[in-house]
Amino acid sequence: MILTGWGRYPAIDCKIETLRDTSDISRIFELDRSLIARGNGRAYGDAALNPETTLLMKGCDRFLEFDPEAGSVECEAGMLLSDLLEIIVPHGWFPPVVPGTKFVTIGGLIAADVHGKNHHVDGSFGRHIESLRLALPDGSVVTCSHSENDELFAATIGGMGLTGIILSARFRLRPVASKFIDETIIRAPSLEALLSLFNAHHAATYTVAWIDCLARGPNFGRGVMILGEHAMPDRPFNDNKSRRKPGPRLSVPVELPISPLTRMTIGLFNEAYYRLQKPRVRRRFYDDYFFPLDIVQNWNRIYGRRGFIQYQCVIGGKDAENGLRRILELVRDVGLGSFLAVLKKLGPGNRYLSFPMNGYTLAVDFPVRVATMDGLTRLDAVLSEHAGRIYLAKDARAPRNLIERGYPDIERFRELRRKIDPNRKIRSVLSERLGL
């Protein structure tokens, strides 16, 4: 079966196996083929693809335990975040970290150690995990936590599914007083203004900025800062008015033959978006605040047949602002940066292959074309100078030396892999491309 990541590039013919009961995992390891686990296929590139066996985990989606008093949950790795939200929010709990889509599995959240708009305060998802159950390549199943198999635990968080098959996880939740987020929108006319907003609002729970990658001259780096706080209740949780039908309301039904996204259309979109984002405060349903793109089902199809690459990097260190500026200049000059350019200031990170670290992260979508691939190589060069990192969950093309430079723990990760998986039973297209 032809599979792709969310970016629809690359497309690989993969043999599929399905897991419905975590107790069946030994059967999968007995197959004489390498494998990688796949959740909901929302990693953008080649992380959840293996032509020999791609193991579909979505059938393992049961709650194992939920304590509505203490706010902790244990569930199987194939559970969708959207499913989790449906159950826990009415009890006054929220996931500790959510990414930009709710259509991801818990296993995927852990394997990519996702960050959210609260990373500068609360860290990544991995920080909130109490324990997880991992099936190792030798067929054994172990429990990992800070006190038990702690190195394996640390390496699995952000380990792109390469340390074993994550079967289930137990993690802590955040208490919330309502289903609503109080959102504050602030416009920043330049990059300096935008960056100073991150510093001014470092205590806000949720911060993220949209940035206009095509703006030139005095407008260069202009953007819109979006802050959020969990709202105090003005309606009871079970109020039906606050219950909207979950799930997408719009859809891109077919792959567009050519992408309508050109420099001109994106420029017009960005101009309109910037002008429409009037500074204001408003109360929004959590879904609309955290997952605006989930409203459009299959939005990834608008990039056309060849798919797209999301270039997400993080630049840290003293020179981070300068590095970010250089990257943005290049994105502007390459000229194909999409309307979805997102900027966020991150807090301290985790170990091994976890992506987030102190600094600025920028995510820009590029349709796959020869010109953009060349442009990305130029971005790589700047990123490498600043020892920046590419987010593996988004990547489909980064060169090995860039990844090695950006992830200082990579050798330790390889060492651990050699120890637990000498025959490289667990593999993905990504792991083979980068020698992980």
Binding site: I16, R20, D21, G59, R62, F63, I87
Partner: protein
Amino acid sequence: VTGAGTRSILILGAHSDVARPLARIYAEDGYKVILAARNSNRLSSDLADLRIRSGQESDAREFDVLDTAGHHSFLDGLGELPDTVISLVGLMTPQARAQSDFAAADLMIRSNYLGLVSILGEVANRMEQRGSGTIIGVSSVAGDRGRATNYIYGSAKAGLTAFMSGLRNRLMPRRVTVITIKPGFVRTRMTAGLALPAALTATPEELARAIRHAHRKKRLVVYHRRIWRLIISIVRCLPERVFMRMQL
């Protein structure tokens, strides 16, 4: 009816890929759910999951559709007869195997048809006596016309469809509703590895919602996805002389 206002549902074939989303929908709607399948001890994690999702206790029972002699005592063991019984029981063996190995054909026919004549027949008798109830059976579009590629499975499903149609006819005056669900392609273990056209293929979750909807609306015969009703009505109109030359 169990308790004050609590409706109950028995799901036969609870290891089916459709069973889990279906049980969740009914549990969240306040039904008491009874899951029935072979190796019912393997359903314990599903019971925990249903409890967390719905706040309701569910139940798992040992049930083998082929053990027709045990069907009476299986129903007796439930205590009260559930308000609704849904059968998701089904077995599809590749046609090539079924036509060359009678044991495989025999097993398929007993699983898809004979066993259900036994259990659904007895459920019908008891509901008739009670004067209320709903029986929902998942048959298949494969039963609507025999095709070279799938006719042994199809003939068993055709038998089930006719059986349920007759039950409906018989039980209508006794206020027992009989609903036949005819899925086209569904992405399940049964169809794993087959190349299915995306536009005609449903997910198990989608089929589960369609079953709940059909139940709520008291539909009688439901095709899912709905396009199949059109496809099948065209296929059924083809003269045999034309149909026999087609590769479907």
